[in-house]
Amino acid sequence: MSRTATLLLGGLLILVLLAGLLLGETTLTPAQYGQAFAHPGSPAGEVLWTIRLPRALMAALIGGGLGLAGAALQGLLRNPLADPGVLGVSAFAGLGAALTIALGLSAVTGAVEAGALVGALAAGLLVSGLAARFREPEALILLGVSLSSLGGALTALIFNFSPSPVATAEVMNWLLGSVANRDFGDILRALVPMTLGAGLCLWSARGLTMLTLGEETAALSGLPMASLRTAAVAGAALMTGAAVAAAGVVGFVGLAAPHLVRRLSGDDPGKLLIPSAVAGAILLTAADLISRVLPSEQELKLGVVTALVGAPLFALVAWRASRSWRA
């Protein structure tokens, strides 16, 4: 990637993070901003440092994870429509988290995260198994869409039958995603599996590039493809699981982010990973900002904002991809 593009991406990320810190529901006066920076303990400082900053950072972390996971899945499956949300990995992570909550384990440290992780891994393994069986890219996407609906339906079902009835709002939180009211502890808890997953995905980069040439050529390339492939699936599932445990199911970021930076990375699925993570972080921080500052009676859900932008994009990518599949 060129230096200009790197600087541009980095600059944009800093810009949206700053905006996430400075803008919000409550409008502060310049004097209050001054106070907040001089005295972090003041009421204005509280708003900036304990409400807005962790929220913006959480959005960036989750967007980055989903952007990276999406890029890894697209490379692995050689499919421009792949994304943790589209393939049902997010929905099953949500299902895993919902199960742990319904079983009354939400107070146990790490239980919800573990549940989401297990769900994401199961869906990830299922999807990569199906990918080996169904060579047609459209078939895999259709299977993913059905997995995704199934996961969402089962999650709603669990909340319906849960012994301690959960409010509908709580269910919507899980199904539509939100990063409101997060603190630094939440960020740290998400950071561990995110870092691990990112490491695995980045390690698999060489294999993702080689897979451009197809399964057989990659298998004979001399790279340890079996391990690289497993690393990509496990890494993407870890990041998706962590993202869902922390913020519910946020769709389309993993789909959109890789496409925004694909040309910048020379179309190389291995070199695309980090730019895609940064693009995902920018996208989700911006989306969260929109959900906060849009004047509305009740705050817009993050997943709604990303879907409003992401769903048309998905259609556009599908339309363009279907032409190249036919050729």
């Binding site: 080689m210 040439l213 197809g214 057989e216 050529t217 390339s221 001399g222 790279l223 340890p224 493809m225």
Partner: protein, 250 residues
Amino acid sequence: MSWVFTDVHAGPAGRAVLKGVSLTVAPGEMVGVLGPNGAGKTTLLRAGLGLLPLQAGQVQLADKPIAELKPAMRARAAGYLPQERRVGWNLAALRIAELGAPDLPEGQAQALAAACLARVGLEGFEGRGVLDLSGGERARVLLARLLATRAPLLVADEPTAGLDPDAQFLALDLLAQEAARGAGVVLTLHDLALAARVCSRLVVLHDGRVAADGAPREVLTPATLRTVFGLDGAFIDTEDGPVLVTRRAP
């Protein structure tokens, strides 16, 4: 370093496509594998490279059973150009050719890739995206990647499919050059006359078995042409050497 098939039975999803094939490919040979559709040509290559499990028999590459070779060793021993030419992403031609040499440091791999692109006649195409190229140009980029593997055994499944006549000769000449330098070259072909001209040895597969094996003129006899391919044909001597002419058997 030879590629040795001993009584190999193999086929995708448990089907018996190869029914006992024995064959040895020596360094410096240019072996054309011929046969009608479904005779087992691609299965032979895939089983021989360990991409397909063997149902019975044995394949040896680099003096070891193929299943025992580690990925890196297998890549050093053999390069493969599959029939499937779908490329997933629009990488630059140079980058695709470079993927033939993942074992080299980046600078060296790039220089090698550029040299291989020049050999297939694509000088000046280095920065072009493969999906923006024509089908024939893309096939040549993939051939450049095969050359970049520098493997002592080069295996190509229908390397001439979809190429114009000039590019077909170019591709086969390049493979012949590799054979002349001591590499074993194995390729599948459908054009019998072309195969007879460029290969030092032909192997005819028929219904999963070797129907004939040897020098082109010994292999493509009227009897073999008739029983395996359903063709009438013969070699005609010309100033340019013998040429095979065929037509559908009445």
